[in-house]
Structure formats: structure tokens, C-alpha cells
Symmetry: C2
Subunit: 229 residues, 2 copies
């Protein structure tokens, strides 16, 4: 393999134009976690494949590409997912106290049966063979690659007028049973996808008084972690 | 808290224009994992803050925002990271056999001392308090949020003409010791950042014959995991 000719593939790559940069930053800043705004309109095949292709162009450790895209349109599977969510969410609610519990109960945290497509993005830990370049010392890097795919898809969806909501309140065993996942595959993200005509202008949890955005400056540190933090 | 007035923050949100979509897809498709193309030019404060602000606008479980941004410009810290990388990489090389080991040895897998900025993005597992909305059943979701921040930054960097390389070949204990991280903080990504004038037109590992891009169609499944896969 080391005798393969090295293809020279370097090409000029400068900064984008100002309008191009603005488009990217707009996707990043106006992306929302959608639970309630899904329209019933179907997502057509070409659009869905553009979104999945964006995900597939995520970086991956050792070019492992550990992801699969489980596209769920079956009302039966969606209903099972919603039941599993409800079971876990009933437990979750009890973990909060007083006012926080009341507010929690008023939040809509999933759109599993309204969204025309539920997309589960998985990570196959065996994808790259016995040893994967870059995954030799941190075994979680394949999960991280899979999350990069989620975020690529989320931004592409924003630009396409498709809302995405990440539902994470499940018992792992429930997800595995419903989706019939083999043991070497981890369900990383369960995403609700649907066209939207409107979105929140700020994160819904902020608008509802759950939690505020932290000042960026307070999150920036220099060279080493400070002793007093 | 449940008596707080609900701010109505919904606004129209349609698909982007075709040129805006094209800009986003260009960032996604031309983003590369950079190891060798860093220019020595410094990254100025305003540019770095735009990149960190893009990261800070990632989705996070329960709006937890678990990330910190450790900006490393100190040659001493960079040299220590490079030593730790070299130690781990010497071990990694031995895990590959024959031709694969020879090819591995010829790959440049980090640019820690050439890059003007090394950025370590961390996850503080205590950030959201005792119970975090959405993190009640999968404790890894805060790590996933942090990776979403990495990917936002990576795409913004591409648009700004800044290359990013994710270095993952470290012993976790080495990273923690060098950066003096407390136990409740996980180092998720160690990123090399620098201006670039050129980039590879395809993933470098593909150009070098390490591994090819998988056909997207083979990664798409429907409703439940098939029995024969």
C-alpha cells in the first residue's frame, strides 16, 4: 500500500465572499431545536438525500465513516418510539423539583409522530476494522464523528427550510429493541425532521425561562485551565 | 418559574436562497482535516471570536452549553502537547501491520507546533447543575453537544480561510496533566488552527490510499435495522 502513487490533490482555497460567509453564519445562528412547528408536508427523496449527503461529508476519525442513516416513516415504529419517550420522560419529570418540575411538564420535548420523517443516526463501532487510525487512544472518537454528521445535517436542513429536533430522552435499551440494533451499533441521535414555516428567534428553553445563553467571554480560557475555576 | 410570561418568539423561517444554500454546501464539502498547510500568519482576535461564537451557537442538551474554549498560543504548552502526541503515536503505529504500518508512518497526523493557535474544546459535566433536561437517560449527550460546537467552528473556519485539524492521538491522562484539567472536565477535541492558502480537494486519507468514501446509498436503511446486516 505504501507504494501507491501519492495523488497530488492540493488546490487554492481562500476565504469565502462576504455573502457566502453571511449565509453560513445565518444557518448557524438561526438553527433551532424544533418540537412543535413541523408541517405535515412530506420530505421528498431528493431533498432527504441532500441532507444525508451533507451528513456523509462530516469529518470522521481515520475516514471511518461509522454512520448509518435509519430513515423512519412507518407510523408503527414512530408510535413505538413515542411510547418509549413517554416512559422515559415520566421518569425524567420526577427528577426535577417544585417550580422547575411544573415548567418541565409544560415543555413539549418531542415531535415524533408529527414529523414526517424520524431519522436515527447510528455509529457502527466495527466499521473501520480492528484498528482505526486516530481511534487508538480514545475509543469515543467514532461517536464524535457521528455527531459531526448530525450537525452537518442540522445546518443543511436549516438552509432547506427543514426543521430538526433531537430527542434524547430514551432508555438506550428501548431504542435498541425498537430499532433491532445489533450490539456493535450505538444509536447516537434520534432526529425529527419536517418542513417548517416558522422558527423561534431564540432557543425555546431561553424564551421559556429555563436557562439563558452564557456570555462567550466567560467560556474562553488561555493556555492552561486556571486554578481558580 | 412556571409563572414567567411566555415570550412569543416565533418568526417566519423559510428555505435559504439558492446562492445561500450553495455557500453552506460548499463549506460542508470543501472542509478538510488540515495537518500540513498552516501558514504562520497569526489569527487575529476578532476572527477567533467569530469562530468561537459559531461554536457557542451549537445546540446543547437542556441548553447546557457545557463547553469551554482553551486557546493555546504558548509555545511551551504546544511543545508539551506535541511530545504527548509523539508518545501515543509511537504506540499507535505498532498497532498496524505490514504495508499499513509503512503507510501510517508516512502520514503527518498533527500540526501542533506549526499552527498559530491550538484550541482545546472541553466539556464541563457539572455545567447545568444536578439534573439537566434531556441528559437524564443518556449521560453522553453533553459530550455530543460539545462535538456539535466543534463542527460549527470547523465549518465557520472553512468560510474564513482558516484550516482546522483535529488531533486525537493522545492518552487522556496526558492531555489532562498538561492542560491541568479538573476531573469534571473532559477534553473533547484538540484542534490546530491556522490560515491556509490551499486545501486538499478530497480527504487526504483517500488521496493517500488509506480508505475510500463509502457510497451513501449503502448507508441508508429504512424503519428498522435489517436482519442481514
Amino acid at each position: 500500500m505504501s507504494s501507491l502513487p501519492r495523488r497530488e490533490t492540493l488546490a487554492p482555497a481562500s476565504a469565502f465572499s462576504e455573502p457566502e460567509k453571511a449565509a453560513l453564519y445565518r444557518a448557524i445562528e438561526t438553527r433551532r431545536d424544533v418540537r412543535s412547528q413541523f408541517l405535515p408536508d412530506p420530505i421528498d427523496h431528493a431533498l432527504l438525500m441532500r441532507l444525508l449527503d451533507a451528513a456523509h461529508h462530516a469529518p470522521s476519525v481515520g475516514f471511518m465513516q461509522p454512520w448509518n442513516f435509519l430513515v423512519i416513516r412507518s407510523p408503527e415504529v414512530k408510535a413505538e418510539l413515542r411510547e418509549a419517550f413517554t416512559r422515559a420522560n415520566d421518569e425524567a419529570r420526577e427528577m426535577f423539583d417544585g417550580d422547575k418540575r411544573a415548567l418541565y411538564s409544560s415543555l413539549k420535548l418531542q415531535g415524533l409522530t408529527e414529523a414526517p420523517v424520524v431519522l436515527v443516526i447510528t455509529c457502527d463501532h466495527t466499521r473501520g476494522g480492528r484498528v482505526v487510525l486516530g481511534r487508538t487512544h480514545n475509543r469515543d472518537t467514532d461517536l464524535y464523528s457521528t455527531v459531526c454528521a448530525v450537525q452537518n445535517l442540522w445546518l443543511a436542513a436549516r438552509a432547506e427550510g427543514v426543521g430538526v429536533g433531537w430527542v434524547s430522552i430514551f432508555h438506550d435499551a428501548d431504542l435498541r429493541a425498537i430499532l433491532r440494533l445489533p450490539g456493535h451499533v450505538t444509536p447516537v441521535a434520534c432526529l425529527c425532521l419536517g418542513h417548517v414555516a416558522e422558527l423561534h428567534t431564540e432557543p425555546e428553553l431561553q424564551a421559556r425561562g429555563w436557562r439563558q445563553r452564557l456570555p462567550l467571554e466567560e467560556l474562553v480560557l488561555h493556555d492552561r485551565w486556571p486554578e481558580n475555576l
